[in-house]
């Protein structure tokens, strides 16, 4: 961070809290970003592994040149358990973030333990991707730069001293139901208390707004900018059954093509490994006798291949010996746990993947099991223990927190040096992960939670796929597919199904090849949804470019854009997509729901019916209608659906305008297979309609052509 010295200044402050004298250091480390340090620094901080900040982009954001609150007012202390910080909130502040939370949305009033765990046991903050970062509606963000299981008491606890003067009140009425009894009896506290265990110091990054959205932008840009996914990563991904042979996979692939079901990516599940369920990283000859030929055949049908793996390296793997002395002291499923903190271990692992898979045409990986599962029943053996020791010196707790990010980094480094874009599936992530082109997924499967996770993902630089697996009804299949279409990655995970779920969603019948009586009708309904997804790719791709260059999350809760509208503070079942789409998924096969619209006028994507902002509406939609709304003043570029994307794809774009005049809209154009955008090899295509005239203007250095605007439709 030497290049930041010029903007860094240091203030040393003395601090008195509970009779202890402590000093904290305040340093401005980037435009609108301050680092507050206290005590002995933590050794394995997330920042050690982060990308360089996108400083030029950060400079474009408004910068008040002063912190969003008085950083000297943060109180720190050390106790035997670790280090504690206390910040003060206003009465009215709402708090969001902490990564991929599935149970809660507005976090004030909760105790959040930011701990990686594949099951969100107990609604206490555990997550695949827990991020020690939160944003406030007051327009700032706070990141604790820790790889420990930090706990955030978000206004839950009151000091005893605050009680001294209470002389009346309490619950004078007599409760005789649990609900009454346990009604919160306290006025919520204004303290945000943060505990980092085992450390005698803490580093807090404070991100200025001045708005909530800008605080998030600053966090993403400081992380290195939002991820640039390949356009094909925004197409349809299908993961086939775990015991597929090459022949079966190819057969399914040709089913897609013959039936005009769009699909870009095909994923192989554990069975491709010669040994699983720890990993050999070697093809299983009985299922895949000729991997090169298989890859070539799939490629010829337009499928990118994605291989499932986790990092736990089985003794028969060629990676075992090289990693033997570069792994943790405990095994998982008999496999080594590579010490990805060590650049040498990352190199060994990455080089092997490059040589064996990436050079052969594998375009992506599914990085499984890099979250822990300590809090799920008997799953104690699904990960290394917290008291593990690794050669680099990191311990198991810290490694749990960072493993997802380090694993992504290990393989992404290879793609980056090859100037290839990829799009991972990944089970865990943490702080500063915004630049990683990876979509989180889960073994959990609650549709309502999945939608909440879309809303929450945008607060912390994460990308989330609410994957589609089993179901019990046509309606649930369609509604879940709609949510997939309206998410960052549309993923069908059929790892235990012989056939696509739309042909038969009953597990046993599916695997006996017994199809639903209305299989063809469902297939047709799903096809329409996949085609809609393909139509949306140019819009989504541009939204991801905005994520990269400006830090605005492509999928985000309404409160990000409307922090002053208190009606949206608890809305976690609607979210924004890109600049001007609003999604309000129907859950559990229902066809009715209430939708709140924020400021503006909104058009039903299906019918053009208009809704006024600031109100709730009871909305009913058939299964053929998608719960998507377009803001008045939008130019929505929709592509003619194609089956899959190639380097030569040119999208035929129809511009849909909503309202009498529109804001200009931008299409981002580049070689979406490479990282050439980093060398300014991209174009911005401005679509304009002022109510009278349609204009398409291309600016930039990229010589290619991905879009042809073929028409305009007025709504």
């Amino acid at each position: 961070m030497k290049h930041l010295n010029k903007i860094a200044y240091i203030i040393v402050l003395c601090f008195l809290w509970q009779s202890s004298l402590h000093a904290q250091t305040i340093e401005k480390i980037a435009p609108g970003v301050w680092k507050v340090s206290f005590g002995t620094p933590e050794k394995f901080k997330p920042s050690e592994f982060k990308d360089a900040p996108a400083l030029d982009a950060m400079k474009q954001l408004q910068d008040n040149e002063k912190p969003p609150f008085d950083l000297a007012e943060i109180k720190f202390k050390t106790i035997q358990r670790g280090c504690v910080a206390e910040l003060t909130m206003d009465e009215s502040e709402q708090i969001y973030g902490f990564g991929l939370q599935n149970n809660t949305f507005q976090q004030r009033g909760f105790r959040k333990e930011i701990r990686v765990n594949s099951w969100s046991t107990g609604n206490v903050g555990f997550s695949h991707a827990p991020v020690p970062f939160y944003v406030s509606t007051k327009g700032y963000g706070v990141l604790v730069n820790t790889s420990r299981y930090a706990t955030f008491y978000c206004g839950t606890m009151r000091k005893a001293t605050e009680s001294v003067n209470i002389k009346e009140g309490g619950n004078a009425s007599v409760a005789s139901s649990t609900l009454d009894l346990y009604k919160p009896l306290e006025k919520p506290s204004n303290s945000m208390i943060i505990e980092v265990p085992f450390e005698k110091g803490m580093e807090i990054y404070v991100f200025e707004g001045p708005t909530t959205k800008e605080a998030i932008q600053r966090y993403n840009l400081y992380s290195g900018g939002g991820c640039m996914v390949p356009a094909w990563g925004l197409g349809v991904k299908y993961r086939g059954k775990g015991d597929y042979t090459d022949v079966k996979a190819e057969k399914l692939a040709s089913y897609f093509r013959k039936n005009n079901m769009p699909c870009d990516m095909f994923g192989l599940e554990p069975g491709w490994h010669s040994v699983a369920y720890s990993c050999s990283f070697v093809w299983k000859p009985s299922l895949f006798p000729n991997p090169d030929r298989f890859i070539q055949r799939m490629d010829s049908m337009g499928f990118k291949l994605n291989l499932w793996e986790h990092a736990f390296t089985f003794p028969t793997s060629p990676l075992f010996d090289p990693l033997k002395d570069k792994s943790g002291d405990f095994s998982v499923w008999k496999g080594l746990v590579p010490d990805f903190v060590d650049p040498e271990a990352r190199k060994i692992f990455g080089d092997y993947h490059e040589k064996t898979f990436i050079n052969k045409g594998i375009t992506a990986f599914k990085l499984d099991e890099c979250d822990a599962a300590d809090y799920k029943d008997a799953a104690a053996q699904w990960s290394f223990p917290e008291m593990s020791v690794f050669p680099s010196g990191i311990d198991g707790e810290q490694m749990h927190q960072l493993y997802g990010v380090l694993y992504q980094k290990t393989l992404l480094d290879v793609f980056n040096r090859q100037n290839k874009r990829t799009f991972f599936d990944v089970r865990s992530s943490q702080a500063f992960a915004s630049p990683y082109p990876a979509s989180l997924y889960s073994d959990m499967y609650d549709h309502r939670e999945f939608v909440r996770m879309i809303s929450n993902s945008g607060f912390s630089g994460l990308v989330w796929s609410p994957e589609i697996r089993e179901t019990k009804s046509d309606a649930d299949l369609i509604r879940r597919t709609q949510s997939g279409v309206l998410s960052a990655q549309l993923l069908f995970n059929s790892w235990y199904l012989n056939n696509p779920p739309w042909l038969q969603y009953d597990y046993e019948k599916n695997n006996r090849d017994e199809f639903l009586p209305n299989a063809k009708q469902l297939e047709s309904q799903v096809r329409k949804l996949l085609e809609l997804r393909m139509s949306l790719i140019p819009y989504l791709y541009s939204a991801f470019a905005t994520y990269h260059f400006e830090g605005i999350p492509p999928f985000r809760a309404l409160v990000v854009d409307f922090p002053n509208d208190s009606a949206v503070y608890k809305i976690d079942d609607e979210y924004l997509i890109g600049e001007s789409l609003l999604a309000a998924p129907f859950i559990d096969g229902t066809s009715k729901r209430s939708v709140y619209f924020p400021a503006g006028t909104w058009y039903d994507f299906n019918t053009d019916q208009k809704y006024e902002g600031g109100k709730h509406y009871a909305i009913e939609m058939s299964l053929d209608q998608i719960p998507l709304f377009v803001k008045e003043g939008t130019i929505l570029p929709l592509a003619k659906p194609i089956q899959y994307i190639t380097p030569n794809t040119v999208f035929e774009i129809t511009c849909h305008t909503y309202g009498n005049s529109c804001k200009p809209s931008t299409l981002f154009e580049d070689n979406s297979y490479t990282l050439d955008y980093q060398k300014d090899q991209f174009n911005k295509i401005s679509l304009e309609w002022n109510g009278k005239k349609e204009t398409v203007t291309k600016k930039g250095n990229y010589p290619g052509n991905s879009y042809n605007v073929v028409g305009w439709v007025k709504h």
Copy 2:
């Protein structure tokens, strides 16, 4: 522990583990009990607050004069997270204990985090009463003397070094169901790894057997011996609705007497406090205008009164000012958290209770909320945070673990000095709690788990009430009541019901005084069960005396008595009561179940049908039959049911003999209202029948008479 010097010897050993040189100290601290110390001792160890060991009783146990395994083989190390110990188990060892576990029974293969929490979130070891103590079928017990959230990896994790030589295997077949995939792929490890966080040392107590039962006995005796409950504590307890006035409570009390429903104890729920739901410890004048008169009236009907409270002291309480400087730095429900580590705080709290309640005739308390509820949704405010600081220096985590025990100690000290026996309800307990006359209860309500908790309670010196509350069917009410009858405390908790559940178990109808059409029939069925309970009191009372004097838990899993019968290793839905009864509760209203009988011949208590040990039987019982079995060779003393117990109660005993000749049986006799048994003021009445002759022999110094043997019945 000065009196132990004569038997103490010290061995200092040097130890090498993972390149660190460490010393551990081994000391024999009581007959068959060794203390292994490593590193810097923990400051607030459970042992600091324990009773003196029952050394004389311990000397009666067989003592090999050498530890059950080589204590020098325990490997210790410190890491940044704390301190780690590693013990080795045999392949075949089964592990039990860890306090009041509700989800699991045999603990080998599980990761157990011994953390107090009122909801057992995630099945990872959390419990109301987590005890860092386990016993092995190999015949020893291990206690970690810690008030930290210790984690026990019970053979779950394998060292990476153990994987190096694996060159074949793994899961060669391809899984395509989650079940197959996650089937434990590892051979279980033989390591018991224990992590104590935040401490740079560890103290481990090892209890010799040579049998599992003797290891448990030694633990209980070292704790001070099992609790002596008053005989009335074994009667029926009923907790009335939270908003009862004195008039309503008295009305219900007279319902019991008029309808001959046995009941000894009546509990008042939060409404009696002038302020709740933090506590004022002052009667609410609008509900109880004349507490003295109320106590007297209830006493005149033969009811002992038990008052609900928790320790969180509301600002308007007379206890607030005296405790203000002797409490933690955070409030709970606006109330102070008294620092019960400080003897002065305990004295203030105890003295107030003595003067205000105990001297006025209150015989017991229900000590609620002394467990934490951190892992239940939004319940972060239900307890003080782990990073709390208390004036004594203890922190919130340690206080969470010890609060239940310290709270019991605070009030028990008063009863002890008054030479009065009591029987608390309590929500939390921990190590060395065997001498506390307190029965745990829970907000959880799964009948199957409740029965498992009976089985588990006996491993760690705990007493457990599977309380009866709401239900949805006659059968469930009866089956739950049966389990209550066959537990340490028979407790109906009707804190939200206007009327007893057997008159109406529907919450809303009950509170509208609308009774079931078959209310009288159900009442009659319940009456029979309450009468059976009253009949069992002499047997149970003697079993508690055995608990006190010999350390044998009155309620315990089959494996305690039959550690060599592998068929019982997983049986947690049957348990032993006293010396020779076996209970096998019917769950969820069912009338059929499989029952396994260990060695011996067993008689159905209802029908005298015989079952041979070593086999499983499919058994069916009507709701009028209780799932209780008597071992052949038993003399079971049954009392003529009475309505309640007084200091003058004399039980009329009929001795039931099972089989052609019997082992002698003992009735314990003393003044069950006082602690005079500690001064040898008790009798043992030996009941004998050798197949020919019946003999009743009383020995001892107690001048009173509690039993008249009036008859013998041969089965």
